[in-house]
Amino acid sequence: MQLMIAIVAGSAVLAAAAPAGIAAARVEFNRDIRPILSENCFACHGPDGNARQADLRLDRREDALSRGVIQPRDAAGSRLVQRVRQANPALVMPPVATDKRLTDRQKDLIAAWVEQGAEYQEHWAYIKPVRADAPAGSAGIDHLVNRELAERGLDPVALADRRTLARRLALDLTGLPPDPAVAEAFARSDAPDAYGALVESLLRSPRHGERMAVHWLDLVRYADTTGYHGDLPVNVYPFRDYIVRAFNENKPFDVMTREQLAGDLLDSPTPWQLVASGYNRLSRMTNEGGAQAEEYLAKYASDRVRNISVVWLGSTLGCAECHDHKFDPFLARDFYSMAAFFADIEERGVFSGQGSWGSSLRLLPPVQRERADEIERRLAELRMLGEDKLPAGAEAVESLAGELREGLTRWRALDPARAWGDCEHPDFDQCGRFELVEQPGAVIRLTLTGDSKPREAIQRVEVPLEEGTLTALALELFPTGDFDSFYVSEFEARLLGRHAWPLKLSFPGLLPDREVPGSMLRDVLDGNYHTGWGSKWGEDSARRAVFALERPLTVRAGEKLEISLIANPRSAAGLPARFRLLATDSPLPELPPTGELRAALLAGGDRSEAQSAALREAFGRITGGNSHWREIRRLERRLKRLRDGAHESLVAKAVDRPREVRVLPRGNWMDRSGEMVAPQVPGFLGPLADSGGRLTRLDLAEWVTSPDNPLTARVFVNRLWRVLFGTGLSKVLDDLGSQGEPPPNQELLDWLAVEFVESGWDVRHMIRTMVMSDAYKRSSEPSEELLAADPSNRLHGRQAMLRLDAEFLRDSALAVSGLLNLAMGGPSVKPYQPPGYYKDLNFPKRVYAADMDGNQFRRGLYTHWQRQYVHPSLMAFDAPAREECATQRASSNTPLQSLALLNDPSYVEAARVFASRILREGGRRADARIRFAVRESFARPARPAEVAVLRRLLEGQRRQFESEPGAARTLLATGITPNPGGIPETELAAWTSVARALFNKHEFLMRY
């Protein structure tokens, strides 16, 4: 049905464009003839020399005329016209076997064109755009849009109402629904500049860069894994943060381009410019045994050519890998010359190991870098000032001993309220079942149940805390007869009862009693279940590690700690089956001393020789003989924390001798017979002059963003238009070439492209110019007249109805519920995910550990992007795998979407938390609460009929929850956010249903 409408629509617009008598009207090559020839003739009579038949090409006038196929002004005498009109199936063109047929109208067009002189035009997109005569600013857009409408005798619809505009703007510019209060104030304001002020405030919001980044990251195929084979993690998330920053700082697009393509080649590049050059490292990579390095180098090269040509040039140069392009004048040679620009990038065809993916940079974000520098300066000072000022005299030693003794006595064992072996995690298929055995001294002994010895464990302990101060935790592990070694993959401590979600504690000060390379204590804090700290038991009676906090934590009444020990050893190492947790408020939370030192401290003045020696040794080790040792140690700890927070990011690094690049006949990497090529841009758009030396990626970037490049600006504004208006001005976003769509309103596209270049590639200026236009502000409801004449809205007489992108839909639910965590940047985060979703990944097997803290509620943009298994809730809403450039996400409407919105715990938890908000903030009466909930969800007042539906739902659900004991409690246990006290469970559950209904209402998914 929709398909039918679309087809009728296309011809409706065309019919209006072309007057009744074709012969009488001016036929234009680009608009009328090229699409016919490209679709039907160029495959055999076009640019591809190898596929060319009868040595005839029709894509160039001189060729067509020289063969006499076209006789200008003599249609009847032109063989082109004769052959397409041929009745004999053996002679007709295109040949019957191709299944291609020209319509009578197309034949008439060709004849008329020949009759009028068969004038060719260069393909529109390869001619530098010129600015049409139109007023400056947004009025220019309206002038050009309205003129097209007026030519067809059509009227645009009225502007949308202000609440719709507030929601549209917020979703388009920030990817989040509007603050209902802001939307309401805007709706009531009659200030003439209220709209502009709203636009500016949204553009200034840091959320704006996050919104724009989603689009860009799709294009450059940013992801967190390698893509091929084992689909292993890579660290390149600082690149994502660079993109967010770039949009937030409104970095000019030419600068952004230069930094991404060639940040590493700039003079003294800044760390962020190097991070930007990570663009070159976003292609898929393999480490598969048996992969052939040359083959994969060829794959990586072609990956890059495809990406740059689609992202910046809107061209399918990638098609020329195996043959000259069939429709556009790209030659296979152009493909390999483009690939040669990237032949300087240091890389391997087949990477080795699982964590090493070539050139990278450890990067401290600027603020942290400044802090680290400052600390280093201060440390140097202190070290000099206090050097040798603290001899190990008796007094000083005794003073430290006193402190250590006090520190020792301030360690107290944490008595668990609960301890349990948690085998719920689906990826732990050989997980230990444990039972808690109470032991004196708060030692936790988990005895095994079941026959076979487990190989994995997740052990959790919940400990009530007393009011006071916490500076460090300690873990003591004791041997058991069950295992001859121990292994801890992750140590996680979460504070419950302070925030809406558990607060994950971080520990910059790590003090193990022993550790060896490859099994360091820091490995238990890296979020990676495949690394950890452990060893054989040997003679040890216990092993210990201290986890010191950055600064003392003030514990409030009622707060609890949940501590998890996760063990996922690679080999058959043992599990932590007997342990104790300790806490201290000591300002000097050193490792609780053992052995001689412990004895020395407890012995007081009456020490043995060995004890005194141990004390002196500890003094030297702790103070280093420096009178400022306390301050030094404090600063060192801070510095370590800063450095541990450095981001590793893949970057491009140019090698001295770029790889040799040859034209590969038919794309066959084993065929080395092709000619060698140097970096060069496609011939018909170039060539680019070299100043004697080899052209570089920097030269390429300059060419791409040169004001003379006919493609780049058009490609960018065309996609920006799609983001804000739903359809590109040329609707094929990845191909402005011969097989793309000649834009129905080319003057508008060109006007925008020129404006973009002349503004200094000012992205925000273009967004502002677009959203300030009346065309943007129009209602998305079509008039009957427009629906009939322009059903697919190519003339933009109205706005579009758009479904939210996957990330923004999730963000919306979190935002409305109040759960959204607006922290920016950093490592990717892991929302809840169905069990076993990664089951078919391997090398290594993957454990998905959802974030059980505030990271659970981060914006969707920050979600861990596993190329082979994109998060299923995002994928259901058309999030791309980012294996290849995605210029436009589909906007599907499927039952899997319904299932995700109904049942994904992220949405259920958001509904539950939204329900408690409704009850807290929505007034006392049910109807008032429903009206509040509707306003929060859609930024508009509720309609009485909606209130009635939701009221009936509320009552029905309440009845059902009341009649099924335990059901409400089970529902309310979804997720990690605690429920507020004082609300009957059935009441909160029933309101949760109301909230779920709102999140599932079609309107919630839409921007109108």
Partner: protein, 453 residues
């Protein structure tokens, strides 16, 4: 529970009930089959032990592989290694009245030898698992093209009103389990409704198919009903055509929440059927998946894709291959027999095979642990069911089992043949993307008429 408004929406627009509509005009010829069950032996089964008997290999066991075969050819893990011939590590025998010649390790499949057509002359382009699967499924080495199940749904639509038309199941066992990416059942540039849906053997069978904890079916129904009413109200003041579709999708989702658990619940299967497949229940084994496949076939699922991850025998062909065979033999045979006894064999196509084969050359040093490397120039698969010539063998490799030399079948030809059996001309089923009309067979593909009955 009343789904009043939902039902109303469906009445108004009956087409919305067809969840995965096909293209008008397809099938364009008489269809032989209605569904395909693709049993993918992921990892690359050793054709020289299973289906392609080469006495010459045995005679020349341990001798250097002649360079005339291997020179200039792609090679995977044996790069830079000495190449030596490895004779067949397991005996062959003849099965059935047709006397099909195949391994003694698959007696179950041997017992249906008269029903299957062995193709011994397959070739593919990609030599690593990931890209080879992508090529086998989409006809192209790069991501972004639709897999064959998606093409089929796009072409002729789904027959099921409450299950997805393209379903994927995985199992493992027998050798190292190579990963399988979700890309393998992606709809690529086709609309997402044609995407394959992965069923899980543990946890929820389909992502998010289970109600939130504590929510009964009646509660969920009441909620969906309310959502439908709210959407109905919205239709009074907006003309958004997607609202009606959305309402229909909620109706379908709600049906799936019933039909999926019912599908995977084997309690209505009699004991002798469970025994025939060799499964106790939905335990995620290949045998259980075969039974599940039959249940899906009965319910109108169009493309049922089973992956058994366990055929990557770089070593231990001798001890390992029997293990892999034991994981799949009984289930495969039971599936064919069961379809026959239900009269469904003649309108089902069954395909059995991997993403490539394995080299005539040995891999590894320890003589008792020898294996074979990935191989793309000649390997075997078999097909059975509607329109397929049973008890027949097609094509041949050279005397060392290296190159397919007789009646060579490319992956594109396999695709063309599969579409042909559904009454679809592979050259005509196209979709426009990136300014070009794409098809499953790219610009290649010939229907392999000689294997058709």
């Amino acid at each position: 529970m009343g789904l009043g408004s939902v039902a109303l929406a469906s009445l108004l627009e009956p087409r919305l009930l067809a969840t995965q509509p096909g293209v008008p005009g397809f099938p364009d010829a008489a269809a032989k089959v209605k569904r395909v069950i693709f049993l993918c032996m992921a990892g690359g089964p050793a054709h020289l032990e299973l289906f392609d008997h080469k006495p010459d290999l045995a005679k020349r066991d341990g001798q250097p592989m002649p360079a005339s075969f291997t020179e200039g050819q792609q090679i995977a893990q044996l790069q830079g290694k000495e190449l030596r011939i490895l004779g067949p590590q397991h005996p062959f025998k003849r099965y059935g009245s047709s006397g099909q010649h195949m391994t003694s390790l698959l007696p179950g499949i041997g017992s249906i030898a008269d029903d299957i057509c062995i193709v011994r002359s397959l070739q593919t382009e990609q030599i690593n698992h990931d890209t080879a699967h992508t090529f086998m499924n989409t006809g192209f080495r790069l991501p972004g093209r639709p897999s064959m199940g998606s093409w089929l749904l796009y072409g002729i639509g789904s027959e099921s009103e409450d299950l997805p038309g393209f379903v994927v199941l995985t199992s493992e066992g027998g050798s190292q389990s190579q990963p399988i990416a979700a890309r393998q059942w992606h709809s690529g540039f086709l609309p997402s409704i044609y995407q394959g849906v992965k069923f899980h053997s543990t946890g929820d069978p389909v992502n998010y198919v289970r109600n939130p904890g504590g929510v009964s079916r009646a509660m969920q129904g009441e909620l969906i009903d309310a959502v439908g009413k709210l959407n109905g109200l919205q239709q009074r003041w907006t003309s958004d055509p997607e609202i009606a579709t959305r309402v229909a999708q909620y109706e379908l989702a709600f049906r799936m929440q019933m039909s999926v658990p019912e599908l995977v619940d084997f309690s209505d299967e009699p004991q002798h059927i469970m025994e025939m497949y060799g499964t106790q229940g939905g335990d995620g084994t290949f045998n259980a998946n075969c039974l599940l496949a039959r249940r899906m076939a009965e319910r109108g699922v169009r493309f049922i894709h089973l992956y058994h991850r366990g055929w990557d025998h770089h070593n231990e062909i001798r001890a390992g291959l029997p293990k892999s065979c034991s994981y799949v033999d009984q289930g495969t045979a039971a599936l064919v027999r069961d379809l026959k006894q239900r009269g469904m064999f003649d309108d089902t196509l069954i395909v059995w095979g991997g993403e490539f084969g394995r080299t005539p050359m040995s891999q590894g040093q320890d003589p008792s642990l020898l294996g074979r490397d990935h191989h793309i120039k000649g390997f075997s698969m078999w097909l059975a069911g509607g329109g397929i010539k049973g008890g027949h063998s097609h094509g041949a490799t050279d005397e060392l089992g290296y190159n397919a030399v007789e009646d060579v079948v490319q992956v594109h030809d396999l695709h063309a043949t599969i579409l042909h059996l559904f009454g679809i001309d592979h050259r005509k089923l196209t979709y426009r993307s990136q300014g070009r009309d794409f098809r499953l067979t790219d610009v290649h593909g010939k229907v392999v008429h000689k294997i058709l009955a």
